[in-house]
Symmetry: D2
């Protein structure tokens, strides 16, 4: 099922090396020798977890069904406008971030607020595209991968 999640991410314009680049950006200050390969390995490990796959499949399905005007109102408009009081996108992202414990929370919030790198590109997607869940899912995956790296460097 990891293939389904990875394929869906790519279909929405997100590659695993781009997520790995986010991870490296937030962790390089703490682990100076951190390589792109290690970050990519961590992102892949996160995506192997079933609860991560389920959150990714669900969030992207809601983005796509909203684009296709298949989500009933008022929910369709709430998702389309990325209403910041919606909160279900953050809930799914939290389920991802938590796979390596609560230490990922801080990095998730930081990424979600500042939207560095490709997160900004997702957020400014062209009109008609709905990425309400996608940016939070990607920030959640990157934050979980950063937590995994922190755990591994200690063990």
């Amino acid at each position: 099922m990891i293939e389904d999640a990875v394929k869906l991410l790519r279909q929405r314009g997100v590659s695993l090396p781009e997520i790995a680049a986010l991870v490296r950006e937030i962790q390089l200050a703490y682990y100076p020798g951190l390589t792109e390969e290690e970050c990519l390995e961590a992102v892949t490990a996160v995506l192997k977890k079933r609860e991560v796959q389920n959150a990714v499949l669900t969030g992207i399905a809601l983005d796509m069904l909203t684009e296709q005007n298949l989500v009933p109102e008022p929910l369709g408009s709430i998702i389309r406008n990325d209403d910041f009081l919606y909160g279900v996108d953050e809930i799914l992202a939290l389920a991802i971030t938590n796979v390596y414990g609560s230490i990922g929370l801080t990095n998730f919030g930081y990424l979600d607020k500042l939207k560095p790198g490709m997160l900004g590109r997702i957020d400014r997607a062209k009109k008609g595209t709905v990425n309400t869940f996608l940016d939070d899912l990607v920030a959640g995956i990157a934050a979980a991968a950063a937590a995994r790296i922190a755990h591994n460097h200690r063990a």
Copy 2:
């Protein structure tokens, strides 16, 4: 927006007095004089919270879109079969249960495991109906309402 949530619940066969009956069942042992009116008031208060409405709208939309075969695979089959490794239904329910703090967790788990009263009926819905999210949402609302009653009886 509470009307949207209540209407959607009713459309899926769930009335607020039935949820209130669940609340009374789990709290009557602790508050012997607990009335149906007080339980209904607590259920209504829970449903006035925006994050509860958003979870209800999202979960029921996923149930309905799955029934209509509009959710892409493999997610459609996962939701249709109520795969117990899915977990996103519990995540949405937790977001509801938490509106009055973590003390609702225990009652949520109890209701979700034993499925007393109308929860059993939802769970055994006729073939073709998808209630994967609905039963968890209702258990979450009942558990949050029970937590509200516990808070109010102390204050």
Copy 3:
């Protein structure tokens, strides 16, 4: 550090085989051939997770410091009386339960409500003993181990 957590649990009267017996009790109906060994292996795997060890060390320390009258008021009384509006004990247990995703939530609530087996014994500890955190921690470990077994039987 797993030794610290296991030693502390034993010091408070809880052995890993007893937790494994709880796991077997809630999962035997679903996996008829489930052995005590497999349940014990799952409990050990849960306790190897750093976030579980941290929750166990923290919760039991609060129980013990409360027994020794070292926790300042009003917190000392809240913990000593196992005030059901406290909620921090459920929060720590949730951090444990979540290590294998949200599917452990239901079993946690069920165990915490009905307190079968050794959970009842912990809960009825002799006067002077404070087990406010301990019973939730044990229910959380058992629920996480049950979730792990469910994941493994699918993979």
Copy 4:
């Protein structure tokens, strides 16, 4: 009990107007007319919630008991060194942040990562002072108050 929490915060060097200043800093860009009074009102509303009080009392008690060398090892050292793999401090903060739903998550992470204003001062406390929980608790209160303001400006 709000007095106990406020007194304990002040005893640890944190005043409510300082927390309100953090709230104003993160929300002023979105609500240009936002006053200090409104931010202080939101911080007070957050602190009136029992689950917030319980998290504050518990976290600060652990900081203080660690300072007094009363927390058993290895937990004492973990808390004293603010080990970033500990995670229980983030868990308590999350319980606070969640009182107005998941929308507070992003601001919590942002504050906890960048530690603007008084959060930096807490974090760089003089040797011998343990503020492992305190900075997360304050970031959690500020994030929840920001979420409350966002809800109120919509309603």
